[in-house]
């Protein structure tokens, strides 16, 4: 169902006129308020005044995750902290997270866009939303929460984990909507079965799933097992959080990007060249409605394409194809972003292991798993199993504490892992998505 009839079906011409106006305003602000952008624009030889049409966007410089990290924590903000009502953060390669801020109006806009997204997915006032996204610095939990409330639905802020309790509540409260990662949803489905709870005992109808890449095959499995509509939602904290784009229940093909707030582009990740609609490349997003931390041409590193054909649902906002993967080696394990280099730096600091490791990602029983194989060093090798066991457990605990993911550490013999002459390929992803 369309939540904001006027905006969601705005004719392209009017939508693009609105985009241009908002883009010009955003460019003006960042140029004058963020030293980083002033420098970048000057280097590229462009002034805010040069943005006369939407096509001029491609003349503007990109923003990368590294730029956010370089300006850690608040260097990219355009507002003083007194006007920032909330911050979120996501993990980064160096251990420093990338930080984003929200003004009061940003939260309003986010709530609206998320309400729009939920509505597009088939949720309405009267629904009971079981929000199993994690609450915290991660944007998933609070993003879905505010959107659900804005829509007028009943939100259960249960957060992730504690599966048996999730199911008890799902059954007793009569949850009709689940917001969670796809892999956790599948796990829930299986636990339901294990507990001997039949489909008739729960009222679940829709799942709005995201925060990790997933496939059409996985959608089919989830829909079959739970008897629900599984809807793909996209977002990233740098841009806002969940609700940047969403599938509509009508078509269930491609995710509508809310173009009154974001301008999507697809570029060739190697050359930076803008690609025509329909061609696959890296998704780049410019925020045109954000106050606290507007970003110009942010490189998401997500691979997709723009679907230019109009959607049968009547929304005029263009769609992007389901995210195919990442341009770099970032791993998403149960919705948590992790870079091999993060594991690497941790291992480097651990006495007794060699700097040779391998990461094996798999999906076992529908949950992402990460195995860290690391070579044991001569120095630490002791004749007693318990010392080695302790070393293994310590690494597992450190990774859990720092990055919040559970991994299995396997100690292997020195020189048993593959060595590389050029670029190392340390990750083996066995997930079939």
């Amino acid at each position: 169902m369309i939540y904001d009839d006027e905006m969601e079906t705005l004719p392209r011409e009017a939508l693009e006129a609105l985009q241009l106006k908002r883009l010009q305003h955003t460019v003006e602000r960042v140029y004058n308020l963020v030293p980083f952008y002033k420098r970048k624009f000057d280097e590229a030889g462009v002034k805010p005044d040069d943005v006369k049409t939407l096509d001029d966007l491609k003349r503007l410089p990109f923003t990368t995750k590294q730029d956010l990290r370089d300006n850690y924590p608040f260097g990219m903000f355009t507002l003083p902290l007194e006007q920032v009502v909330r911050v979120h953060a996501s993990s980064g390669t160096t251990g420093k997270p990338t930080v984003v801020g929200y003004s009061k109006r940003d939260i309003e806009v986010w709530s609206d866009l998320m309400a729009r997204s939920l509505s597009a997915a088939g949720v309405s006032k009267g629904d009971i939303i079981q929000n199993a996204y994690g609450y915290g610095l991660f944007t998933g939990g609070l993003g879905a929460h505010y959107g659900g409330e804005r829509l007028g639905a009943t939100v259960i802020p249960i957060s992730g984990g504690n599966t048996k309790r999730q199911i008890m509540i799902m059954k007793d409260f009569g949850s009709t909507v689940l917001t969670a990662t796809p892999s956790y949803t599948l796990y829930l489905a299986e636990t339901l079965k294990e507990m001997g709870i039949s489909r008739d005992e729960i009222k679940l109808r829709v799942g709005i799933l995201g925060a990790e890449p997933w496939s059409e095959e996985m959608r089919n499995t989830i829909e079959e097992k739970l008897g629900i509509d599984a809807i793909d939602i996209y977002g990233l904290s740098e841009i806002m959080g969940p609700g940047v784009a969403v599938e509509c229940a009508e078509a269930k093909h491609g995710l509508h990007v809310w173009e009154d707030a974001f301008i999507p582009e697809i570029i060739d990740p190697e050359t930076g060249e803008v690609l025509p609609d329909g061609e696959e490349g890296e998704l780049v997003i410019t925020t045109i409605l954000k106050e606290a931390i507007p970003l110009i041409r942010y490189r998401t590193r997500d691979i997709t394409r723009i679907i230019k054909e109009p959607c049968k649902c009547g929304r005029t906002h263009r769609r992007i194809e389901r995210i195919k993967g990442r341009t770099d080696d970032m791993l998403i394990i149960r919705g948590v972003n992790i870079f091999p280099s993060q594991i690497e730096s941790l291992l480097m600091e651990t006495e007794g292991v060699e700097p040779h490791y391998q990461l094996i990602v798999d999906r076992i029983d529908n949950l992402d798993t990460l195995e860290v194989k690391v070579e044991v060093s001569e120095e630490i090798f002791s004749d007693e199993i318990k010392h080695l066991q302790k070393l293994k457990e310590r690494i597992e605990k450190d990774i859990k504490d720092l990055y919040g993911i559970t991994v299995k550490v396997t100690l292997v013999e020195p020189k048993s892992l593959q060595r590389f002459e050029g670029k190392a390929k340390r990750v083996i992803d066995k997930r079939k998505i």
């Binding site: 090798f381 004749d383 199993i385 100690l411 020189k415």
Partner: protein, 144 residues
């Protein structure tokens, strides 16, 4: 102090890995006097007492194995029922904790040789000595 040298080798739990260790030593004519295999879910430790400890360590290292050397105690006991129990009884009575133990491969007529790793080696040695348990030196190991 009569302590003997033991080589520990780190091995992953996969088929044929122990064989590689044993074959390697065999190829270099190193006789294994005692061997035990301790394992966890992912890896194991092969413990060896050999004739030619230094040479064995070098060969293993040259072939990419991670090794450690530990000093352990070898006790010679009668090869008859209750003999081991007698030794263990003495140790238990004196609050000596055994980390691990295993037996020698080559028999001496009427005798058995057991090797022990204690958490408190010195204390254990003293008590074994006081109780007249025969301990073997590295040289004596060579002979058997």
């Amino acid at each position: 102090m009569k302590r003997i040298r033991q080589i520990s080798v780190f091995v992953e739990n996969r088929p044929g890995r122990l064989l590689e260790v044993v074959e390697l030593l065999g190829k270099h004519n190193i006789n294994i006097k005692a061997l035990s295999l301790a394992d966890s879910s992912d890896f194991g430790i092969v413990r060896l007492v050999v004739k030619g400890t230094d040479e064995a360590i070098k060969i293993l290292k040259d072939n990419g194995f991670t090794t450690a050397e530990t000093h352990i105690i070898a006790c010679m006991i009668d090869d008859k029922p209750g003999a081991l129990a007698n030794v263990l009884n003495i140790l238990a009575g004196n609050q000596i904790n055994i980390e691990y133990m295993y037996g020698f491969t080559s028999p001496i007529e009427g005798k058995a040789v057991m090797v022990f790793k204690f958490s408190e080696t010195q204390k254990a040695e003293k008590i074994l000595e006081e109780n007249g348990i025969q301990m073997l030196s590295q040289e004596e190991i060579r002979e058997i």
